[in-house]
Structure formats: structure tokens, C-alpha cells
């Protein structure tokens, strides 16, 4: 008897629940419909390609398509490990990103502090505008600007070197100087934009704190060391952790336009995951190899992001991404 009552009441609650679920759906139909284009958009352009990473496990053949190409298991990964490509790509991608993140943030903080010291409003406005200029141009133009500077025959750098009586540099055939060039160009393009975040944090500092320190006799260096830098620390830590999450992702436009797609002489030092995948697709039509690197990148990137997020959550739950 009691058994039937419970099943009966269970049926009622489940009926009620499904009805209330339907009611919420109905009550929010307009807001849901407003999200629908975005849901479809990300489904098509982001979610549909995800299972496509299956291509990493087959020997993809254009005429046979995804489903009839032969399954090869981990052969593509094995090839990438044995050829040393995987190690080289990981090393380059991670090291470049580390240099971008660390040097970039330090330089941006440096600029922001100095910008804050400039009292002449006109000077500050004009220089801030000029520092933002590189952010607004495409990497295609940046590639041309670098070429304009570094070209062996007519480049500005070599004109200067020749005028000084020194031997001109063969930049485009010397891989060893490229890490410096790439890091410098990246700093150049992002510094103005990045310093804005720190500059905003600086203008938010309570004037009274600084005045108090001056009354206490702190000099300018002490002010920066003991007041400004500690106040910038949270912003720095958050930006650092955010960018560490993306450490496996390279900036394709930067590398591709600076180095070009054919200059194999430089690849040992300049090839990152994105450029390798691009070449295996567009130059060698090796879809499976490209996918294998992408899968490796996505899985490791995912692990790194979730780990950094876990760390952020421990330290400062408010800033956690998810």
C-alpha cells in the first residue's frame, strides 16, 4: 500500500518538475531565442570542428574523406615525436610565450609608471597616441615594416651599419637573431596597448597614500618601490595567470608575417605550433599531421588552463575564470 503511494507521489513530483521545467523554458523563450544565433554560431564554427580532430588518428586522404581514410592509430604522433618536431614546436611556442608574457608585462609596467610621472598633458596624450599606433595596424604591415628595417640590400639597419663601416647583417638567413627580433617586434606592437591596463590601475591609486609617503620623507624611488609596485601587484598577478593559461597558443600572424612561409632556414628557431599546422595544411596537404599537432596543443592547453584556473581559485576566488 505504502509502496504504491510513494511511486504515485514520485510520479507527481516528476510530473510537476517536468512541467515546471517546461514552464521556465516557456517563460524565458524570448531570452533563449536571443541567445539562439550565438548558440548556433558557436556550434557550427567551434563545436563541429572538435570531433574533426579524429583526423589525427587516420591517414587522411582528400579523395577518400574522413570516414574511408585508413585508421593508423598513434602513427602520426609517433612520427612527430621521432622527427623531433613535437619537441621543437613545444619548446619554441612555450619559450616565446614566456618571453612575451614576462618581458611584456615588465616593460608595460615600466612604461605605465613613467607615463604617470609625466605632468605635461599634451606630451602624455601625444606619446600615448603614438604608442598605440602599432596596435592598430595589421600584422601584414608589421611584416613589411620589419622587412623595411632588416632587408639585406636596402634595409635601414644595414644602411646604418654600412655608414658606420661595419659589415651588414644577413638577417633573413641567420636563425640565431630571430628570437630577439620576434620578441622585440612583439614588445613594440603590444606595449602601448598593454600599458593602458597598468596606467588605469595607477590612476586608481589613492592620492592620499602617496602624499603621506612624501610627508614621511620617501624619495621617488622609495615611492615606486614601496607604494606603486605593491599596488600594481594584483593586476600583474592576474594578467600573468591569464596569459599563462594560453601558453600553448601562438600568435600566428606575428610569426607568419615576420618569417614568411618558405624561409626554412629560420624554422629551427621560429617555427611554432600554429605555423607548422598551417604549413602542413596549405603547403604539404598533410591534414593528419597538422591535426595531430592541433590535438596535442588543445589537450595540453586545456590541462594548463584548468590548472591555472584551479590555482587562481585557491588564491583569489573572485578572479577565477570558471
Amino acid at each position: 500500500m505504502s509502496k504504491t503511494t510513494t511511486t504515485y507521489s514520485k510520479e507527481i513530483t516528476s510530473y510537476k518538475r517536468s512541467r515546471s521545467r517546461f514552464a521556465t523554458l516557456k517563460n524565458n523563450r524570448t531570452l533563449l531565442l536571443m541567445c539562439l544565433p550565438a548558440i548556433i554560431f558557436f556550434f557550427v564554427f567551434s563545436y563541429i570542428p572538435m570531433p574533426g580532430l579524429y583526423i589525427a588518428f587516420i591517414n587522411y586522404n582528400y579523395s577518400q574523406g574522413i570516414f574511408r581514410s585508413p585508421f593508423v592509430g598513434l602513427a602520426n604522433f609517433k612520427f612527430l615525436v621521432l622527427s623531433g618536431d613535437l619537441w621543437r614546436l613545444t619548446r619554441n611556442t612555450v619559450l616565446y610565450n614566456l618571453a612575451f608574457i614576462l618581458l611584456g608585462n615588465v616593460f608595460q609596467i615600466f612604461l605605465a609608471i613613467l607615463l604617470d610621472e609625466i605632468l605635461n598633458k599634451w606630451f602624455r596624450k601625444v606619446s600615448q597616441t603614438l604608442m598605440l599606433l602599432p596596435h592598430f595596424v595589421s600584422y601584414v604591415l608589421v611584416g613589411l615594416l620589419a622587412y623595411n628595417f632588416l632587408n639585406y640590400d636596402y634595409g635601414i639597419l644595414n644602411s646604418i651599419l654600412r655608414a658606420l663601416g661595419k659589415t651588414p647583417l644577413k638577417t633573413y638567413s641567420n636563425p640565431d637573431i630571430w628570437p630577439y627580433i620576434i620578441v622585440l617586434v612583439h614588445l613594440w606592437k603590444t606595449a602601448g596597448y598593454g600599458s593602458i591596463v597598468y596606467f588605469a590601475a595607477l590612476t586608481g591609486i589613492d592620492e592620499e597614500v602617496i602624499e603621506a609617503s612624501l610627508i614621511d620623507g620617501a624619495n621617488e624611488f622609495q615611492k615606486i618601490r614601496y607604494i606603486i609596485l605593491p599596488l600594481l601587484k594584483p593586476t600583474f598577478a592576474i594578467l600573468l595567470l591569464f596569459s599563462l593559461g594560453g601558453i600553448m597558443r601562438g600568435d600566428f600572424g606575428l610569426f607568419y608575417n615576420l618569417v614568411g612561409s618558405n624561409n626554412a632556414l629560420l624554422f629551427q628557431k621560429t617555427d611554432i605550433i600554429e605555423t607548422f599546422v598551417f604549413r602542413s595544411l596549405m603547403n604539404y596537404f598533410n591534414f593528419s599531421l597538422g591535426s595531430a599537432v592541433s590535438l596535442y596543443q588543445s589537450v595540453f592547453g586545456f590541462i594548463i588552463v584548468t590548472t591555472t584556473n584551479w590555482i587562481i581559485k585557491k588564491i583569489e576566488p573572485d578572479y577565477a575564470l570558471f
Binding site: 541567445c35 550565438a38 610621472e117 602599432p134 636596402y154
Partner: protein, 315 residues
């Protein structure tokens, strides 16, 4: 050290003035360092562009002899520009394609992003967290280039179609999050009182929220527009040589890499092949392709600054 200074201050007036000098000296140093470093870096940001402009106005022969121009043109001439406009159809076509892509993509994308961002910040929308995570997850894990390429070319059949450039850049998670954060500042009570007056959610969005969200629209719209104007990645992937009018950045890329366009223009203008101004014409193309953005950006930069300081990073 700290202590003695404070005592000095209390002890006598002459000590205070000496302290003041000391403070002034370190401040003066940092301040002048500021002017020097900031001024130098600002110039380093500007000089490459000056060099390109001056080289584009130089004579090819002088450039061959002495290298690219830096602060002033070498033997001033506008020959490179005259050559570009000798046969301007392709250039004008590229401009029209880029402008159309920018205008259509920005308006459509802005509408969709604002609509999504609005729904996702409504505190009374029960599915907001689920949908936000669904969108955010695409930044954590992706299928990579190859499946994306196959999707566009084999399944959506968009190769050599401008839609392959327009569609993928319509929305991205960061701009939706940015918009959501912007719209959060509009008090929910306004929405609630409109609801009591009997307005539907979409009407509220269209009539009430959109007019109030103008600064947000300007910022996100400019992010989108800059993206479309500077777009070359999807163009390079999906537009083959059979497409005559390329978006400007791809056009510039191909002029730099292959210089076919310069050779064709020279042939059209009956310029003998040894006189073709290869290097200066490349620079002139760069100026023509990037000029508008360089002229416009000083007037729109404040919206970008607002965008970064609102906190584009938080989910």
C-alpha cells in the same frame, strides 16, 4: 634611514628645506627619465611608418643605391602612386570589398553580440550560466585549423566566397563577455519596471537597452570593425587566386610576396621591366591599404581604452 629623516623634519626648518631638495632631485630624475623613455619609445613606434611613407615617395633608383628612406624621401617622386592608380580597378575593388565586409560584419556582429550579452547578464535568466559556459568553453578547447578548414571548404562550400570571411568573425567569446560586463552596469530595476508595464524582453532590449548602451556599442563595434579591416587570415585560407578583388590586407600581402600586381600595372602603363619601381610601389601599396586606419585611429582610441579598462578578461 626612514626614522632619521622623520626626526630631521621635526628638528628644524633648514632640514625640511634640505629634505625637499633631496625629494626634488629623485623626482626630477624619474620625471626626466619618463620624458626621455616615453618620448623615445613613442618615436620608435612612429619612425617605421615615416620610413615607409618616405620610401614610397622616393625614386626607385635612389633606393637601390642608398637603401630605404628614413626621415625624408630620396629624390622625391610620386611615380609609385601614379603607377598604382594607372590601372586602379583592382585597388578600388579591394577597397569596396573591405569596406562592405567591415560595414556588414560590424553591424550584424554588433547586433548579435549585444543581444547575446544582454540575455546573458539578465540576473533572472536561469540558463545564463550554462550558455555562458557553452560559449566560453570554445576558448579552452578547439578543433584546430584542419577540421575548421575542411568545415568551411568541404561542408559549407564557402571557398572563394566572401561569406567565409564575413561569418567566422561575426562573434567571439571575448567580445560577448566584454559586452555582458558593459551591460551589467545598467540597473536591473529599469528592466523590471518596463516588464511591469507589459513590455516583452525583446522590446525592452530594442527600445530601452540599445539606446542606453551607446558607449558599449561604440567600443565593441570598433573592436569588430578593426578586426574586419585588418582581416587577412581567413582571406588567405579561403580566397584563391580566382577571386579578383581581395580584401585589402590580403591584397597587400600578395603585393609584398609576389608583386604580380605591380608588374601588371607597369605592363599596363608601358613601363619597361627594368624601370618597374618594385620596392617603392610595395611601400605605396602599404600606405594605400593602411592609410585610413592610421588617419582614423587617434579619434577612436578612447573607446578602445575604455574597452580594456572595463575588464575584457573576466568571464
Amino acid at each position: 634611514m626612514h626614522y632619521s629623516k622623520r626626526r630631521n623634519k621635526i628638528v628644524g626648518n633648514e632640514n625640511v628645506s634640505r629634505l625637499k631638495i633631496k625629494y626634488d632631485r629623485s623626482a626630477l630624475f624619474v620625471r626626466s627619465l619618463g620624458y626621455v623613455v616615453i618620448g623615445t619609445f613613442a618615436l620608435i613606434c612612429l619612425i617605421p611608418f615615416i620610413s615607409v611613407v618616405n620610401t614610397s615617395f622616393s625614386s626607385e633608383k635612389a633606393v637601390m643605391r642608398q637603401g630605404y628612406a628614413l626621415f625624408w624621401p630620396r629624390e622625391f617622386t610620386s611615380f609609385a602612386y601614379r603607377l598604382l592608380f594607372e590601372n586602379p580597378n583592382i585597388l578600388i575593388g579591394s577597397y569596396i570589398v573591405t569596406i562592405l565586409l567591415t560595414v556588414v560584419g560590424t553591424s550584424a556582429g554588433l547586433f548579435l553580440i549585444t543581444m547575446t550579452g544582454y540575455a546573458l547578464q539578465r540576473p533572472d535568466f536561469p540558463y545564463r550560466n550554462g550558455i555562458a559556459f557553452y560559449i566560453y568553453f570554445t576558448t579552452l578547447f578547439s578543433g584546430g585549423l584542419v577540421p575548421y578548414y575542411l568545415l568551411i571548404t568541404q561542408y559549407l562550400h564557402l571557398k572563394d566566397n566572401y561569406l567565409a570571411i564575413l561569418l567566422p568573425s561575426l562573434m567571439n567569446p571575448w567580445l560577448i563577455i566584454l559586452m555582458k560586463n558593459f551591460l551589467k552596469s545598467i540597473p536591473h530595476s529599469i528592466v523590471e519596471s518596463a516588464k511591469i508595464d507589459g513590455a516583452g524582453d525583446f522590446t525592452i532590449f530594442l527600445k530601452l537597452i540599445l539606446p542606453m548602451a551607446k558607449p558599449a556599442l561604440a567600443t565593441v563595434g570598433l573592436f569588430l570593425a578593426l578586426g574586419y579591416w585588418n582581416e587577412w587570415y581567413n582571406s588567405m585560407l579561403f580566397l584563391s587566386s580566382s577571386v579578383l578583388y581581395k580584401p585589402l590586407q590580403l591584397f597587400l600581402y600578395e603585393v609584398i610576396a609576389k608583386a604580380d600586381f605591380i608588374r601588371n600595372s607597369a605592363a599596363f602603363a608601358n613601363v619597361p621591366s627594368q624601370d618597374i619601381p618594385m620596392e617603392t610601389a610595395k611601400m605605396a601599396t602599404a600606405i594605400v591599404a593602411c592609410g585610413p586606419i592610421i588617419i582614423v585611429y587617434p579619434f577612436i582610441q578612447k573607446y578602445f581604452i575604455k574597452g580594456i579598462t572595463v575588464g575584457a578578461v573576466k568571464g
